[in-house]
């Protein structure tokens, strides 16, 4: 991981690190190379991935529209709102 790639990763995650923070993250990433080598040394040939630790099936509900919360309640926590909508900086 070099600084240029890290900056791209920051942009992807909507973060902007200081150069000191970048140094710390680059050191963290460099240390993870040894982790990945340790994992590579474990033979996982023919071992299936395990996403869920217990047997589970997806839970589906009826495709019926509902309104669990009032619009006004949802907007109470909004830092800025106007006329029943979230207010954001100009997009266009």
């Amino acid at each position: 991981m070099d600084r240029e790639t890290l900056v791209k990763l920051e942009q992807l995650n909507q973060l902007s690190l200081t150069s000191q923070e970048q140094d710390e993250v680059l050191a963290f990433f460099a240390a993870r190379e040894a982790d990945w080598e340790a994992l590579a040394a474990i033979d996982t040939e023919n071992i299936e991935r395990m996403v869920h630790v217990r047997p589970m099936t997806n839970v589906l509900r009826e495709d019926v529209a509902s309104q669990p919360f009032d619009r006004e309640d949802l907007l109470v926590q909004a830092p800025e709102s106007m006329d029943g909508y979230w207010q954001v900086p100009q997009v266009l």
Binding site: L9, L39, M50, Q77
Partner: protein
């Protein structure tokens, strides 16, 4: 020294007379009446529109909830040191968690939280308290702040195994609102009414992990072994192949935890709720400034690491590999714990941690979690009692708690020399 903030918000409700227990809820559990911040500046003061299922169940059972307990940012740190509201220190100046301090000073009977990366297990071990991370899927996570969904579970801390079991009796149960909730018949196996639970008659020591702990911690484990043998428990060691897998369990867990965290905290962008950066000219600037100003360094590192392990060029050797290692670890531990066996291991590498050493190594939680990651990555239950950790097979909680009562009352810390 700055003042310890133990509750980030307190209940305004009067405790009903004859309340069963007084509890604290950690700051990852949503409540309508009290703010939930996840220990983060991003959510400071946030009030949920609904209550978590665990809060409802405690309320219905007549428990009083005293307030929301300070935790580290999104629960991923060592001992709560990354909280927006500040770390919590013991009278001796060592790091602890707000939950452990509240238990130690008698303010609450128990604390119910969400375990993500072992902070409360470590704190309970350091304080000689009792801590239980139950089998994944047996306590509803509906209404908890999602961080690392495939391994995080609601947890319980208290000063005795009896109180932990009492809280577990209230919390365990199926919930249709939680897609990962197990059937009621399986959840019920955690309750004290489950008389079919086989006792634990054998303990295996995870020697490989133990060797990475300091001398005082190793002596504590030896004191636990002596206590267990005196109780007629057979003690042996885990197989070398298991030790090898345990040595990489946290490396795999770090990958899975950060990958899931990266996706889960994407929702926090400073627009719909939470911290909102000022004077932004574009929506991209609003997102980036809000997240940059509100998230702490450890969380940013975890987000970036999670993003990196999911990148196309790393996916197979990191994320995919970690999922396959999860299966190997679960299979190995299930085999080791078969037939009424539990694993004995430390919950942390030392008997105390200072704020200075964590500040010198802010990523320490990703190393010290080698003792708690085996439970997190497998979803198996883990109990901390008497300063040591027992890990058992799924649904072995009542048996673990019975053995934990023996360890709790044995004063292991006084015997370690």
């Amino acid at each position: 020294m700055s003042e310890n903030i133990l509750f980030i918000s307190e209940s305004s409700e009067e405790a009903a007379s004859g309340s069963q227990l007084t509890l604290g809820l950690d700051d990852l559990i949503l409540t309508k009446g009290m703010a939930t911040s996840a220990g983060s500046k991003m959510l400071a003061g946030f009030k949920s529109l609904f209550d978590a299922r665990v809060y409802e169940r405690l309320h219905e059972a007549g428990c009083a909830v005293a307030g929301k307990v300070n935790i580290g940012e999104f629960g991923i740190d060592l001992l709560g040191e990354t909280s927006h509201f500040g770390p919590v220190l013991t009278a001796e100046g060592q790091l602890t968690t707000a939950a452990s301090q509240l238990l130690a000073n008698g303010s609450v009977d128990a604390v119910v939280g969400l375990d993500v990366n072992g902070a409360q297990a470590r704190a309970a071990a350091l304080a000689g308290q009792v801590y239980l991370k139950p089998t994944y899927g047996c306590v509803s996570r509906f209404g908890t702040v999602a961080v690392a969904c495939s391994g995080e579970t609601v947890d319980v801390s208290a000063c005795s195994t009896e109180v932990v079991q009492q809280v577990l009796d209230t919390l365990a149960g199926h919930d249709d609102a939680d897609g990962t909730s197990l059937p009621e018949s399986e959840c019920a196996r955690l309750k004290s009414a489950n008389s079919e639970a086989a006792p634990i008659t054998q303990v295996k020591v995870a020697r490989g992990l133990l060797a990475t702990a300091d001398e005082a911690t190793q002596q504590l484990i030896e004191a636990a072994i002596a206590t267990l043998e005196a109780e007629g428990i057979a003690v042996s060691d885990t197989a070398p192949e298991t030790d090898k897998l345990l040595s990489v369990a946290n490396l795999a867990w770090n990958i899975l935890m950060c990958a899931e965290l990266c996706n889960n905290v994407n929702r926090f962008e400073g627009m719909k709720y939470g911290y909102h950066a000022e004077k932004c000219q574009s929506i991209d600037e609003l997102y980036t400034k809000s997240r940059t100003e509100a998230f702490g360094s450890l969380l940013k590192t975890a987000i970036l690491y999670g993003s990196e392990v999911l990148a196309t060029n790393n996916y197979d050797r990191c994320y995919d590999k970690a999922l396959r290692i999860r299966r190997l670890v679960l299979e190995a531990l299930t085999e080791e714990c078969a037939g009424g066996t539990a694993l004995l291991l430390p919950a942390c590498a030392k008997r105390a941690y200072s704020l200075a050493e964590v500040e010198a190594n802010p990523n320490l939680a990703f190393e010290e979690n080698r003792f708690t990651a085996p439970a997190a990555i497998t979803g198996l239950p883990a109990l901390v009692a008497g300063g040591v950790q027992l890990l058992g097979n799924a649904f072995s909680e009542t048996a673990l708690l019975r053995l934990g009562a023996v360890l709790s009352s044995a004063n292991l810390a006084g015997k370690e020399a």
